[in-house]
Symmetry: C2
Subunit: 405 residues, 2 copies
Amino acid sequence: MTARLPVGIVGAGQLARMTCEAASALGLGVAVLAQGPDDAAAAIAPDLVIGSPKVAADLDALAARCEVITFDHEHVDLRLLADLEQRGRVVRPGTRTLDMAVDKGRMRLGLAAAGLPVPAFALLSAAGTPGRATPGTPAALTREVASFAADHGWPVVLKAARGGYDGKGVWPVHDAEEAARVCAAAAASGTPLLVEESVAIDAELAVLVARRPGGQTASWPAVETAQVDGMCREVLVPGRLPQAVVDRAGELAREVAGRCELAGVLAVELFLAGDRLLVNELAARPHNSGHWTIEGSVTSQFENHVRAVLDLPLGDTSPVAAAIASVNVLGADPPSEPARHLAAALAIQGAHVHLYGKVPRPGRKLGHVTVCGDDPADVRARAWAAAAALGTPVPDRLALVGTLR
Amino acid sequence: MTARLPVGIVGAGQLARMTCEAASALGLGVAVLAQGPDDAAAAIAPDLVIGSPKVAADLDALAARCEVITFDHEHVDLRLLADLEQRGRVVRPGTRTLDMAVDKGRMRLGLAAAGLPVPAFALLSAAGTPGRATPGTPAALTREVASFAADHGWPVVLKAARGGYDGKGVWPVHDAEEAARVCAAAAASGTPLLVEESVAIDAELAVLVARRPGGQTASWPAVETAQVDGMCREVLVPGRLPQAVVDRAGELAREVAGRCELAGVLAVELFLAGDRLLVNELAARPHNSGHWTIEGSVTSQFENHVRAVLDLPLGDTSPVAAAIASVNVLGADPPSEPARHLAAALAIQGAHVHLYGKVPRPGRKLGHVTVCGDDPADVRARAWAAAAALGTPVPDRLALVGTLR
């Protein structure tokens, strides 16, 4: 009979793995709900349940082994989690927060209702069902897209309300014909859609916020992120962001955290477009845009997530260096095991290499490298060099070049 | 059938636990040889063998699960390890290094033969057996102690050649009568002894060195340590040490590492006595005096130990702050579980709390707290405050006060 551990994590990917590492330092044990024994966190988690987050019995098995349930992904069934809450189990962040992070339609509605800036949007075929987009016929959906575009102009962006990540579930469409194809596929697969204006993005940024149930809140400074094909490739602290933008983004993110009654860590992804700062996405968990905090901040996002869900005082979120770069290690094509290239990566001075122990596949996130220092160009070059040494394909041209207006 | 992991650790205490945390970040799995499932590292080690380091079959079971064998303590049987080496298994550090770290007599002889500064010493009843002290009769032993004291003056220090740690196995004696009592007990238990001059210590310091098999060497700056009743209570970086002493200590430690053909991390503990800098102890593993490196250095002793034993490039050992203090969390009397007091400790700004998940007992090392900053007095006060909040008894008067000459 294993004693009940303080923390249980739904999911056992790299976020759970790094959370386990942080919890271990604090002397706290973690149970994880993994899909299988090869999941990134399975090897180091003190307790392991193999199962699905969408099966009540598997969630119950996790709940029986821990005091507080938290998450490393949002592919969850909110009804099952609400049922756990009703039976007195502690779920943090709670379903009220997860509701916004799990469903892009509810997120947009919730943020807009709170007066927070979001891109112009509409839920498709959602009339009469506030906050819940339901798929209509392809023709009806396409008419709604065209109507939205008549107000906001082409191109527009279609998004799956649920289940998207790393750029999956996002379709820029330039005219009614392209829209019709996406709508047909969505209707066929029963995917609820929303339509958004196509924002002329000058920069993408992210703010991580930690918040305790009682309200104590701490946020890390906003960072600039570069996505390629929707997947985060690098995170720069502070990147090209003017201090005024960093400050406004932090205020917005903390306001979101309070409004959704966050308990845990929340990632708020934003667009900077001219003078507009728009909330794009929420993730109610540690996030790729915060991996730099492991070495780059006094307290990491993983440690503060553990502290927050256990209602412990939050740690200092100050950066420890003037310039920090974090670059994802992606699987090459054909894939090779990055651990075999550790020597080349570790030869690069100051390269903090993290590998997640995942099976290599082309384009899969297998790890990340963080470098802290004084010179932005230098730390970025070293982080990319180490990621490249580990097999990461390097884009011909990095996304973040030039200066912001 | 579990795949063979890169690293196997003999021992599963807190050093193994923190090594597992560092290895996990690098994507490397660790197997540990634990005494039982409650050992500090047992919960998070990806693979676990329950057994004894002094039983050949248990060592073989560990060896079968890993590529390289290393250590978190030196309570080992060198003949069994030499046998493993002869059968082609990789043991790092190797028996040549361990031989000096395991036996204080051999260590003193080896260092003295290399011209390195050590306290005046003699092995008791060791004539004809270089490097191996063997117990004689109590009367003969006492005569040898008196003869040594005639040359070097009373008091002298008697030490068990093997098996001592945290001040155990060290007996200061002020006259022949006291010496006779220790010699009688040692003869009765078959404990080989050495006798040393009583050094008028101005400061105790330690240097951690990492060295790869091929010779690449990196050392962290010397730190000041404070022992109470032989147990390390706090580590200050750089403490009261003048830069010239830090530099000399670093040179000495790197020379020791080279001479003993180190592969891994070695802790070299030294005495500063007037103008003399003397090597006191060696530990061929990560060490309490290096816990500050987790947050206080670009690369921790645990990560560099893993890198060194796997013959990977060593990481930057620079400190990341001007002043760093690390204070051990010890069990109170009566003991209470420090994890229950986490909230109070984490409320102290910048306190990096590490708990090892060990059963609390009075005086037992249960964790440590590190604080990094600019002001030595401030970081020290915060580290002690957090350790005290976790139940650590605080000495009436800290050992390290005043300034060195």
